[in-house]
């Protein structure tokens, strides 16, 4: 007893110290995270087409698999998967015991409903092509699904990570009155999934509020009470709102603001590479760009590193392949050195010793510093004797004008970007460089045709061995870079600014801000 009496003050001091110190090591939970972004979501359904939709859907309607920021595909709602030897059948084992937030079970029947809806051409889903090779989806048992394709289609696994193919509650879709083309209403206003958050409020053009799902199945329980996306169209105002503390995250920070923000001790600047590649494409079926030497000359004449450093503030990466790093199948292939003499030599060999004139179309405000980049390209081409006239137009007109068939278009050269949002090289390469994909039927607006590249891209779709598949893509990209159907420019970086007390936020290369593991410190 006497010992206890002597020890008591010590024990008391230790206990008080523990009470004071320990909470700072405990995980902070609760609170609201406010993210400022430039555009609102349009629809939270299978008819989603852009990042503002997919980043919200990622928190509500989870996918069978996930693409990690470093490019790995990991099971999520799925527990495991296996592929048949011929690559045509994928068997997926689902996790057990998961329910949608409306209480209905997430099981093989629900997965079949979702995938059948998505791939049904009658539903006219814009991204239906992601699963267009699938011929049937079968329920093997309550937690096993078999997906069959007409031919081996290895990119399917990557496509199943896409947030546009999240799992929605079939019962909720029916209760809401369906998911009608072309925007997925009325269900698209109030989605129901298995995710860590549920939709609480959506005031269009203003704010979208998610609140915590207290019954979330996953091991990483949602820490925040609420996540709020606020629409702040002006880039400068968005940054100022962050500096004032009214929001905690600002996306798409202009490069010019980063030097000021890094000096603010309350703010942290994050740079994450994006899967979006920016390029200027040549009309490969129109003189003078039918000659590879002319296309290569343009690549030698432009100093891409200088453009990245001075115009983009270092927030980009010079392209060394037609697709960006982080994409399955990417490999560094080559860059064109800045060499004016080489450019002039190639032009002379191609029959243009005095240089040539060209018209370059470019958007304005669509991509980071797009107009400034075009002006820089114009100035640099002049040194090689190439006189470029710049033409710009607003996006809707630009999209239409650059989408004409090869026999109708008079576009010579134009700027575009492509985000390989599936994280798989097939989407970035097949869609653009396979000769079957010429616009307006497909996405290739520059009419490139190389039968060897076609063959390699067709083969790569069916190769199940990752190493062989990667080697095939590397070979195809080597030919593409040599052929230079583009003036290869850069892949963008995303600049995101956060208050320092925000932890666990993921800025994904697919241009989504993911807050399902985020916390706000006190």
């Amino acid at each position: 007893m006497a010992v206890l009496k002597r020890l008591f003050p010590v024990l008391l001091a230790v206990t008080v110290a523990a009470i004071l110190v320990l909470p700072s090591f405990a995980q902070q939970t609760g609170g609201t995270l406010i993210i400022g972004r430039g555009a609102d979501s349009v629809t939270l359904s299978y008819y989603a087409t852009a990042a503002p939709d997919s980043e919200v859907l990622a928190h509500i309607a989870e996918t069978l698999f996930r693409l990690t920021p470093d490019g790995k595909i990991v099971p999520h709602l799925a527990e495991s998967h296996s592929l048949s030897a011929d690559g045509r059948t994928m068997t997926i084992k689902l996790r057990r015991g998961i329910r949608f937030t409306d209480g209905t079970p997430f099981d093989a029947t629900a997965v079949k409903w979702n995938l059948d809806f998505f791939r049904n051409p009658a539903n006219r889903i814009q991204f239906q092509f992601l699963v267009s090779e699938v011929t049937s989806v079968d329920v093997v048992d309550s937690n096993t699904v078999r997906i069959s394709s007409g031919r081996a289609f290895v990119p399917l696994l990557a496509h199943l990570t896409h947030d546009f193919i999240g799992m929605h509650s079939p019962a909720a879709v029916e209760r809401a009155g369906g998911m009608q083309a072309p925007v997925g209403m009325p269900y698209g206003r109030a989605p129901v999934g298995t995710g860590p958050y549920v939709l609480k409020e959506w005031v269009r053009g203003d704010r979208l509020v998610l609140e915590r799902n207290p019954n979330y199945w996953g091991p990483n329980k949602p820490a925040l009470d609420q996540i709020v996306w606020r629409v702040i169209p002006d880039d400068g105002a968005r940054v100022l709102a962050l500096e004032s503390g009214q929001i905690q995250v600002a996306v798409r920070v202009p490069p010019r603001d980063t030097s000021r923000l890094v000096l603010n001790r309350d703010i942290r600047v994050d740079r994450t590479s994006s899967l979006r590649t920016i390029y200027m494409a040549f009309n490969n079926q129109r003189r003078p760009f039918t000659d590879a030497r002319v296309r290569q000359a343009f690549n030698y004449a432009v100093n891409k590193r200088a453009i990245v450093q001075t115009i983009l503030g270092g927030a980009a990466r010079v392209s060394d392949a037609p697709i960006a790093p982080g994409i399955v199948g990417y490999a560094p292939v080559m860059t064109y050195a800045y060499d004016i003499n080489k450019a002039k030599q190639l032009l002379t060999e191609a029959g243009f010793p005095q240089g040539l004139n060209v018209t370059i179309h470019h958007p304005s405000g669509r991509y980071v510093q797009d107009a400034a980049v075009a002006a820089a390209v114009q100035a640099q081409l002049r040194d090689a004797g190439i006189n470029a006239r710049l033409v710009t137009m607003e996006w809707a007109t630009y999209l239409q004008v650059t989408n004409r068939p090869v026999e109708q278009t008079d576009i010579e050269m134009f700027m575009l970007g492509w985000g390989t949002v599936t994280g798989d090289a097939d989407y970035g390469l097949y869609s653009l460089f396979h000769s079957s994909q010429w616009a307006p039927g497909g996405s290739s607006r520059f009419f490139y045709k190389n039968t060897q590249v076609d063959g390699l891209l067709d083969q790569a779709r069916a190769i199940t061995d990752p190493a062989r598949r990667a080697a095939t893509y590397k070979q195809a990209m080597g030919i593409i870079m040599q052929d230079a159907p583009w003036l290869f420019l850069h892949s963008e970086s995303q600049i995101t600014a956060l208050r320092r007390d925000v932890q666990g936020l993921i800025v994904h290369p697919t241009e989504r801000v993911l807050a399902y593991n985020a916390r706000v410190g006190r």
């Binding site: 814009q126 072309p182 709102a241 500096e243 007109t397």
Partner: protein, 306 residues
């Protein structure tokens, strides 16, 4: 007077019909395909065609217009091509926000512009006059987004007195109202000054002064009321412009109003939203014109409408 009012309101119908035809046709003539925009860069031609068909955009323009007029008769302005939201619902949510901002901006403009104009006129050619006119020049020349961003920097970031963005409370209204009202204040100040200078030259003002009436009464009771007629015209026009939405201010302050809605709809070629918003704005202008005419009759007893 009430017959006149009724006649003016009835005349509004053909005006609005004409506006609807013009905007309906014009937006379909400009380049840009809403179906292609919705489908996105990666979509195939077949998907674009299907979207166009599901939106009814493949029908002849006359048929589309007929459906549009029929729906308006039922109070239905259609649904947004892009997000499926009812246009009446969208406008119903956004217009009150725009109205709140516009009225606050006009109040700021009047509170600054009218006294500034009076002071300039009564101290004509003095340093006071010069000061206010230079201020008015600055107000009309300053880019709205520049002024707005600087106000946010000073009052929201540095001083932390006011919120940077948003529209929820009266505090959110101060900075955008001031930003939007600055240019209107400048115009009203200049108009008030000109009108006052004109009125102050009249014999009845000299008579009032000769009778020993206090200068403040000369200004407020004799001169100002007569000088207000052109000012009321300007205020009416300014209010009409502000009610049509101030897209730059709305963008800077994240104020989800009609201006931003209309610009986004034009960029997206969202035909029903463009048509609905333009019709709303045209209606506002028509009604405001009537209100301004009525105000003339109140200000000037000589003006009577039959």
């Amino acid at each position: 007077m009430s017959r006149y009012l009724l006649k003016r309101l009835l005349l509004a119908v053909p005006v609005l019909l004409g506006v609807s035809i013009v905007v309906f046709t014009m937006i379909r003539l400009i380049p840009g395909d809403p179906a292609l925009l919705m489908a996105g860069q990666a979509a195939t031609e077949e998907v674009v065609r299907q979207i166009r068909q599901s939106l009814g955009l493949d029908r002849p323009i006359v048929v589309q217009y007929a459906y549009f007029i029929r729906n308006i008769a039922h109070g239905d302005l259609g649904r947004s091509l892009f997000n499926g939201a009812a246009v009446t619902e969208e406008l119903g949510q956004r217009f009150p926000r725009t109205a709140r901002l516009a009225l606050a901006a006009i109040l700021v403009a009047l509170l600054i512009g009218v006294p500034a104009g009076i002071l300039s006129a009564t101290r004509h050619l003095s340093w006071v006059d010069t000061f206010f006119m230079v201020l008015a020049l600055a107000g009309v020349s300053m880019p709205v987004f520049w002024l707005g961003l600087n106000l946010i920097l000073i009052f929201a970031v540095r001083l932390q007195w006011l919120p940077a963005i948003g529209h929820e409370t009266w505090k959110h209204l101060i900075l955008p109202a001031f930003t939007l009202g600055a240019a209107s204040a400048a115009i009203i100040a200049r108009m008030t000054r000109s009108a006052m200078l004109e009125v102050l030259r009249h014999d009845y003002v000299r008579t009032a002064r000769a009778k020993g009436v206090a200068e403040s009464s000369v200004i407020s009771r004799h001169a100002l009321r007569n000088a207000l007629i052109p000012v009321v015209t300007v205020v009416g026009l300014q209010l009409g412009t502000l009610l049509s939405g101030a897209v730059l201010t709305e963008s800077v302050f994240a104020w989800p109003g009609v201006g931003r809605l209309l610009v986004d709809a034009v960029l997206a070629r969202d035909y029903p939203v463009i048509q609905g918003a333009v019709l709303l704005i045209a209606t506002m202008f028509v009604l405001l014109n009537v209100v301004v005419d009525m105000a003339y009759a109140v200000l000037d007893p000589r003006i009577r409408y039959e």
